[in-house]
Amino acid sequence: MARLTPENIELAREIIGRYPRPKSALIPLLHVAQEQDGYVAADAMEHLAELVGVTPAEVLGTCSFYEMFKREPVGRYVVNVCTNIACLVLGGEELLHHAEQTLGVKAGGTTADGLFTLEDVECIAACTEAPCLQVNYRYEHRISHEGFDALIEDLREGRRADIPPHGTLARVRQRVPAASAAGPARPGECGEPVWVFARPAPPKDG
C-alpha cells in the first residue's frame, strides 16, 4: 500500500546516515516500513530501494529472507508460541494446540476479526521460563493454558497498553546528536585512528 510518510522519510535518512554504506540500513528501514503499515507493503519496498540506492528486487530479496517481515497484513497481535526443545519438554506443543483451540486458527493463521495471528516459533531465548510465548515480541513467561486464555481476553478488551500493535518494535529509538557523533567510518576515507598512532606500542626487542 503505502510509501513512507514524510516523517518516516526523515527518520530513514537519519538511520541511513549512521552507516558507512546506505544498504546497511535496509533491515532497520524495513522495520520502519512495517511499523508504519503493520506489514511491509510492496510500495514501501520500492520506496526503500530508492532511498538506499538499490533495486526493488534486492529489497525484496532481503525482506523475504527474514521471518519477522510480513509481506501481507497480519493480526494486530502476533502471538509466537515457542515449541523448541526446552519448551517442548515442558508442554510447549500442548500450549500451541491449546492456543489453536482458543483462537480457532491453526498456527500460521489469522483470526477472522484480524486481531490475532498465531505462530509456532523457534527458541526465543527464555528457555528457563518455559513454556513461554511472545505477543508482538514482548514476553509472557511460564504461561499456563488458563493464563493464555486470560491473556487473549485482556488483549481483546484492550487491557494491555504495554503491548503496541504489530510492527512497532522498540518504542525507544537511538538518537545520536550531531554534535557528539563521531560519524560513520567509510572504507577508503579512514586512516589509522588518532588514539592508536598517538600512542604507538614501543618497538619490540631485537
Partner: protein, 456 residues
C-alpha cells in the same frame, strides 16, 4: 572453595531493579574500566585481555585477545560487530545481559574498540528482543549525553560511534559471516571460507572483529581488576566465570553465573542454589550441555567440570552455555524430531547436504513418530547424517560452508544411538492414534479476504 564463592563478574547488578540505568551504573563502578583503559596504550589493553585468557562466549570458545590480534596491520578502518543474535535453542544469557545491564555491554564495546582501533561499532541485536532493543537504545542515548560514546570520549582523542542495529529473525545470522552479510543489508548467507576470520576480511571486506555479548560484558571487570585476577578464577583454559542457562526438567530452572572450569554439571543440575535436582523425583535421562548443536550427555557425564577442554574431549561442547535437562518421562523421538526440525527450518539453503539432509532427517523422524517408520529408517537416518558430516565424528567433519549442517547431525546421532530401542519400538506398528485435536480451520483467510467473504 564452595561453588558459590566466585565473584559475580557480569551479573553483579542484577539484584537492582534499576540496573539498566546510567545512574545505577555510575554508582556501581560503571565506566571505571573504560577510564582504566584510556589511561593506557591500546596495545597494553590488548595484553591485559590476553592475560585474562578470556574465551569467546558465543559458541566456538576462541580466545578473544588472540582473535583481536588477527587484524592485519596497517589496514583501516577496522570495525567491531557485537553478536547479540542469541538464537541457539536453550540459550538465554545475552538477552538478560542486554536487558538488565546494557551499560556494561556498551563499556565493553568501547574498551574493545579502543584496544583494537575500531573506528565504528555495530551492536546487532536479535530482532525479536524488543525490550533489549529499548533498554540499549535508552542506555546509548544516556551514554552519548554523558560523553561516554561518540566524539572525544571522556575528553580524550578516542572517538567511536556505537550503532544499534536490529535483526529480523533468522538463526543463521548468528554465524559471524552471515551476521556481516546481514549488516550489509543482504540475505544472511554465510560466506565461503577462507578467510576463516572476519578479522582479515569482514564488513565491507575491512578487518572486523565479531564478539559475543557476554564476551564483551567481561571487559569492564577485567580492566578494573586486572587480567591476572580474572585468570586466577577457573581452571585449565577456561578462566573467569560464565553464565549458564539451566532449563527443562529441573526443579529450579534459571540463569546462573558460576566459576568457569571448576563447577561441574552435577553442581549446576542438582545443587539447591542452582537447578535443585530433577523435578517430581524423576530420573535424569539425558541433557544437552551446550545448546541444540551439541551432542547429548548422560548420567555418566555429570561429574565433568564445565571446562572447555574436558567437555570437548568427552565428545560434546559447552557451546553457548545452554543446558537442557530431560527426565525419564521424555519421548526421545519427539525430542530428536524437534531439534532436527529447528535446523531444517533455519538452514539457509546454500549447501546441498545441509538443505536436503536436514529436511530428510525431519521427514524420516516425522514418519517414525506417526507410526509409518520402516525397519530401514534408523540406518537411513544415520546414513543421511553420515552424508552431511562424514564419519559422524566429534568434532564434526564439515561438507558445508558453515557448521549449521553438521550441528543437526550430533543430536540425532546421539539419540538414535543411545535410545535405539525407543526408536525401534515405534517402527512398523502401523498408524498411531491421532493425539492432536485438529480444531481450527485448515485454511484461514486473511483479514481482508474474510471481510470480502462476509460482505458478499
Amino acid at each position: 572453595m564452595a561453588i558459590t564463592d566466585a565473584p559475580k563478574i557480569i551479573t553483579s547488578r542484577f539484584e537492582y531493579d534499576d540496573s539498566h540505568t546510567l545512574a545505577r551504573y555510575q554508582d556501581t563502578q560503571g565506566y571505571d574500566g573504560l577510564r582504566a583503559a584510556l589511561d593506557r596504550r591500546p596495545d597494553e589493553v590488548l595484553e591485559e585481555v590476553k592475560t585474562a585468557s578470556l574465551l569467546g562466549r558465543g559458541g566456538a570458545g576462541f580466545p578473544a585477545g588472540v582473535k583481536w590480534g588477527f587484524c592485519p596491520p596497517g589496514v583501516w578502518p577496522r570495525y567491531l560487530v557485537v553478536n547479540g543474535d542469541e538464537s541457539e535453542p536453550g540459550t538465554y544469557k545475552d538477552r538478560i545481559l542486554m536487558e538488565r545491564d546494557p551499560h556494561q555491554l556498551i563499556e565493553g564495546v568501547l574498551i574493545a574498540c579502543y584496544a583494537i582501533g575500531c573506528a565504528q561499532a555495530f551492536l546487532y541485536v536479535r530482532g525479536e528482543m524488543a525490550v533489549a532493543q529499548e533498554r540499549i537504545a535508552e542506555a546509548l542515548n544516556e551514554a552519548y549525553a554523558g560523553g561516554y560514546v561518540g566524539k572525544g570520549i571522556l575528553g580524550t582523542d578516542f572517538s567511536v560511534d556505537i550503532v544499534l542495529h536490529w535483526g529480523a529473525g533468522a538463526y543463521i545470522v548468528g554465524e559471524e559471516t552471515a551476521l556481516i552479510e546481514s549488516l550489509e543489508g543482504n540475505r544472511g548467507l554465510p560466506r565461503l571460507k577462507p578467510p576463516f576470520f572476519p578479522a582479515a576480511k569482514g564488513l565491507y571486506l575491512q578487518p572486523t572483529v565479531v564478539n559475543n555479548v557476554e564476551t564483551l560484558a567481561n571487559l569492564p571487570w577485567i580492566l578494573r581488576e586486572g587480567g591476572a585476577a580474572f585468570a586466577a578464577l577457573g581452571a585449565e583454559s577456561s578462566k573467569g566465570t560464565r553464565m549458564f542457562a539451566v532449563s527443562g526438567h529441573v526443579k529450579n530452572p534459571g540463569v546462573f553465573e558460576v566459576e568457569f572450569g571448576v563447577t561441574t554439571f552435577r553442581d549446576l543440575l542438582y545443587a539447591p542454589v542452582y537447578g535443585g535436582g530433577i523435578r517430581d523425583g524423576n530420573q535424569l535421562k539425558a541433557f544437552i550441555p551446550g545448546g541444540a548443536s551439541a551432542p547429548w550427555f548422560y548420567e555418566e557425564h555429570l561429574d565433568l567440570p564445565l571446562e572447555k577442554g574436558a567437555v570437548d574431549k568427552a565428545g560434546s561442547m559447552l557451546g553457548s552455555g545452554a543446558i537442557v535437562v530431560m527426565d525419564d518421562t521424555t519421548d526421545m523421538v519427539r525430542a530428536a524430531l524437534r531439534v532436527v526440525r529447528f535446523f531444517a527450518r533455519e538452514s539457509c539453503g546454500k549447501c546441498t547436504p545441509c538443505r536436503e539432509g536436514t529436511s530428510w532427517l525431519e521427514k524420516i523422524l516425522e514418519r517414525i513418530l506417526d507410526g509409518h517408520g520402516r525397519r530401514s529408517d534408523l540406518d537411513l537416518l544415520l546414513d543421511v547424517c553420515d552424508n552431511i558430516s562424514p564419519g559422524i565424528a566429534w568434532p564434526p567433519k564439515q561438507t558445508t560452508i558453515c557448521p549449521l549442517g553438521p550441528s543437526a547431525v550430533s543430536p540425532i546421532a546421539s539419540a538414535v544411538t543411545r535410545f535405539r530401542d525407543e526408536f525401534e519400538a515405534r517402527l512398523g506398528g502401523g498408524p498411531v492414534p491421532v493425539t492432536v485435536d485438529m480444531a481450527g480451520l485448515a485454511y484461514v483467510p486473511s483479514p481482508s479476504r474474510a471481510a470480502e467473504e462476509v460482505a458478499s
